[in-house]
């Protein structure tokens, strides 16, 4: 019988459809893997409520794991505890940066209405002299920044807590 550990290893081959360098494990959205003789259950949690990639991720996981086991694979979605960018693994953050997306930096809680602007280093030249163009970027999870030194426009994977 397949083990839980093996399932986790196979999940390393399931990639985020929008940021294809990250695996679902890197993103920290796989919350639980349960193996029984009759069924494999994988519990995932969405990044953002309306993230259109979730359905795709769900079916990609089911497809991938179904290739290696011959019992039904069930993927369930839970909302609590709510996903936070703190769950992105260190490897995941490194991969983001190499891909040209600035990984989330330690941001103060946004219950403060007007927080101080944060420093997001440029993923291309590492300059800290960057500016936010828009809080909302190409997907729900990203903000849009530009480097004042090398002029590179880049995505910032914004901190969600």
């Amino acid at each position: 019988m397949v083990t839980e550990k093996e399932i986790w290893q196979h999940l390393d081959d399931v990639f985020d459809p929008e940021i294809p360098v990250l695996t679902v494990a890197d993103l920290g959205i796989v919350r639980k893997v349960e193996v029984s003789p009759k069924e494999i259950t994988i519990t995932i949690t969405p990044t953002y409520s309306g993230c259109p990639a979730m359905q795709r991720i769900e079916s990609d996981i089911r497809e991938k794991i179904s290739e290696v086991v011959d019992i039904p694979v069930r993927v369930t979605l839970v909302l609590a505890p709510a996903w936070t960018t703190d769950w992105i693994t260190e490897t995941g953050k490194k991969k983001l940066e190499e891909y040209g997306i600035a990984p989330p930096v330690d941001e103060p809680d946004k219950s403060v209405l007007f927080a101080e602007p944060i420093v997001v280093p440029c993923p291309k030249c590492t300059s800290k002299n960057t500016r936010m163009i828009s809080q909302f970027g190409s997907t729900a999870c990203k903000a849009h920044y530009q480097c004042n030194d090398c002029q590179e426009p880049f995505d910032y994977f914004k901190c969600l807590r």
Binding site: Y48, S49, L79, A80, K110, S134, Q135, S138, T139
Partner: protein, 249 residues
């Protein structure tokens, strides 16, 4: 009447209708960044509506899915605030509507994260994280436009004058609220109102905007009495399911 079901429709329909309104800006934003911002927020709201209406369907126990509730109810069965169905108007009007709403939703979700209903608490925890971003965005624009040029100030002040009458509806304390409060599902409407007022005052001061000194009030959405605008929204939102019942893609 199932109080929890009614309550979930209120929260879910607010998200759905405002999400739909914002999606109307897709391809029409004044600048590309705002086009993207408004559609991102729309996506969050429609996502929230999906979770909430799905749960509403389970609570009701009549086998209705989130899609059934969104696409197959008539206007009188919708429970959203009149505020969220108001037309987009100009960008200033849209931002003012958004700010008035975000400033209400943030403290609401803060309350609901402590709900005795664990599913509602989970949805609130998830939505709160997103709502903080929304509020920061709409508050910044309210200030930028209010404390901006003569024209931007005038337009956004007009938006406030127009929309102010729809805000008391957010804080109506009725039998649904009081019943759910008994079991700790929901919390004090009065405290919610106080939190909202604090945020609104702080931002309007900064924005040099003046709260209208009349007490005109328009409400009805929570009971299913809507303005004519909702019918047009539903005509668009529900068209495919009405024209081709049960279609999937």
């Amino acid at each position: 009447m199932n109080a929890l079901f009614e309550y979930l429709l209120r929260v879910g329909d607010d998200s759905l209708i405002l999400g739909h309104r914002l999606s109307e800006w897709c391809g029409h934003g004044p600048i590309l960044e705002e086009d993207i911002a408004m559609t991102n927020i729309a996506l969050d709201l429609v996502g929230q509506a999906t979770s909430i209406l799905k749960y509403a369907g389970e609570v009701e126990g009549k086998n209705r899915s989130e899609d059934d509730l969104a696409f197959l109810r008539f206007d009188r069965d919708y429970r959203n605030l009149l505020l969220v169905e108001q037309p987009n108007g100009d960008f200033g009007m849209t931002m003012m509507r958004q700010f008035l709403f975000d400033a209400y939703r943030k403290p609401l979700f803060e309350q609901l994260t402590n709900s005795s209903d664990s599913q509602l608490a989970a949805i609130a925890e998830k939505s709160l994280k997103e709502t903080k971003y929304h509020l920061r965005h709409s508050a910044e624009w309210t200030i930028r436009l209010g404390d901006g040029t003569e024209e931007s100030h005038q337009r956004v002040q007009e938006a406030l004058d127009t929309l102010w009458r729809y805000t008391p509806e957010m804080f109506i304390d009725d039998e649904i609220e009081s019943e759910l409060r008994k079991t700790g599902v929901t919390f004090s409407v009065e405290e919610l109102h106080a939190s909202w007022t604090k945020i609104a005052k702080e931002v309007f001061d900064e924005a040099t905007l003046v709260i209208p000194d009349n007490n005109w009030e328009q409400s009805g959405g929570r009971k299913g009495y809507h303005s004519e605008h909702l019918g047009y929204i539903l005509a668009e939102l529900q068209y495919m399911q009405r024209a081709y019942p049960g279609m999937k893609w």
